[in-house]
């Protein structure tokens, strides 16, 4: 079994809420392994503890692999803890093009823990003159911002 082929197939499994991101882009897809019994084992990790998309993602993985003739098992691991640091560069670019501001800093920069956010760039007009409206947005992973230049609201993918 060619692991790269499996990864290529799984590239088409997207985040149900953010269809421009694949589970690999998000760092949700952690591992592809062949078990001792010759079984294909896919390991995923949840972003937030309560992320309701995980069941859908698991189903999507099994469905797409099945359609390509592979039987697989999906395992969920919570360690190491998912972090926005795992977002790929491609993922960040796609997020911004889609209209969601990508996480602005690496989590080694602890400012996010103290609540002091760096300037977030508006994905529409690219101005840095933006303001947070709410810590929480349409999904647990996003905050709601407003651009004071173009006056449009936008989601910001929070660092965690």
């Amino acid at each position: 079994m060619d692991k790269q082929k499996i990864y290529d197939i799984l590239e088409s499994v997207k985040d149900p809420e953010i269809p421009v991101l694949s589970i690999a882009d998000l760092g949700i897809l952690r591992n592809v392994e062949i078990s001792d019994q010759g079984k294909l084992v896919i390991t995923i990790t949840p972003t937030y503890s309560g992320c309701p998309a995980m069941d859908t993602i698991e189903e999507d993985i099994l469905t797409i692999l099945d359609s390509e003739g592979y039987q697989a098992e999906v395992k969920t691991s919570i360690s190491p803890a998912w972090t926005t640091d795992w977002l790929s560069e491609k993922g960040r670019r796609n997020l911004e093009e889609y209209g969601i501001a990508p996480p602005s800093e690496s989590t080694t920069d602890k400012s996010f823990l103290t609540g002091a956010h760096k300037e977030i760039r508006c994905p529409q007009c690219k101005s840095n003159n933006t303001k947070m409206i709410s810590h929480f947005g349409s999904t647990p992973c996003k905050a709601l911002y407003k651009c004071k230049a173009c006056l449009e609201p936008f989601d910001y993918f929070k660092c965690i």
């Binding site: 949840p46 937030y48 503890s49 309560g50 992320c51 309701p52 919570i78 360690s79 190491p80 803890a81 998912w82 972090t83 823990l113 609540g115 409206i133 709410s134 810590h135 929480f136 947005g137 349409s138 647990p140 709601l144 929070k158 965690i160």
Partner: protein
């Protein structure tokens, strides 16, 4: 008490706190004063329920009686729940809810930070993941406590009423018994006496900034939930609403 039994007890305590608090916060859905707060409260609820799922799933696995997270959440009776009384208190107004949240968030934050050093792989991994989410919860609740406490005369009064009501439920957060002793000896959980001063310092600092005072409960602190499953009169109603569907239709599937 065996280490395994103690661990099961501890996971149930953590899981029940997450579950009942999540359920309480979920009651706000569609009822908050503004859309952003509605979304904030329900997002926090979702994080809590996610944590409850992880904790109760692990408890069920340890228990090895063939049960799963849903059976523990929806088919246990009131006296088998071991959450702290604080989380089952009424939502009241937004000020009361956010005060309850703040008092619990600071506790949860320090507890999870300590659990990041746990010798138990699951608790360590769980804590490392959840402490980041709880950091956001605490930032939210802290900001609102300050804003409403040091707000208008009316908001200040409502917040002071909330603190006066809820303070007597904070002592139970630091109660320990044999379950804790067994796990402290194995390096699995922290000694809550070490966490209390951290909690007190942070809470007092924020309440000061919010111009709120701590009531004199004359040493009285409510107790009974964590150690004995003796709950307030609210618990029955919470469970009735939460458990009604799975209990009346046990074969139901999503």
């Amino acid at each position: 008490m065996t280490e395994e039994k103690a661990l099961y007890n501890y996971l149930i305590r953590l899981g029940d706190n997450a579950l009942i608090l999540g359920q309480r916060l979920g009651e706000w859905c569609g009822h908050a004063h503004q859309l952003e707060s509605d979304i904030a409260l329900t997002n926090v609820a979702l994080d809590q329920i996610g944590q409850a799922r992880l904790l109760l799933s692990e408890a069920a696995r340890l228990q090895a009686e063939g049960k799963d997270e849903d059976q523990l959440a929806f088919h246990r009776d009131e006296h088998d729940f071991r959450n702290n009384l604080l989380v089952e208190m009424e939502n009241g107004d937004f000020g009361q809810t956010i005060t309850r949240q703040f008092l619990f968030d600071v506790y949860q934050f320090h507890l999870l930070k300590a659990l990041c050093q746990s010798q138990n792989d699951f608790l360590k991994a769980f804590a490392e993941k959840s402490v980041k989410e709880v950091t956001y919860h605490r930032n939210l609740s802290r900001d609102w406590v300050i804003r409403l406490g040091d707000g208008t005369e009316k908001s200040h009064q409502k917040m002071q009423n909330a603190v006066n009501l809820l303070w007597q439920y904070t002592g139970e957060l630091f109660e320990m018994d044999e379950t804790d002793e067994v796990l402290i000896n194995s390096g699995i959980v922290p000694d809550l006496n070490d966490l209390r001063p951290l909690w007190e310092k942070e809470v007092k600092m924020v309440l000061d900034e919010a111009t709120l005072t701590i009531p004199d409960t004359r040493g009285y602190m409510a107790t009974g939930g964590r150690k004995k499953g003796e709950h307030t009169e609210y618990m029955g109603y919470i469970l009735a609403e939460m458990q009604y569907l799975p209990r009346s239709m046990p074969e139901a599937k999503w």
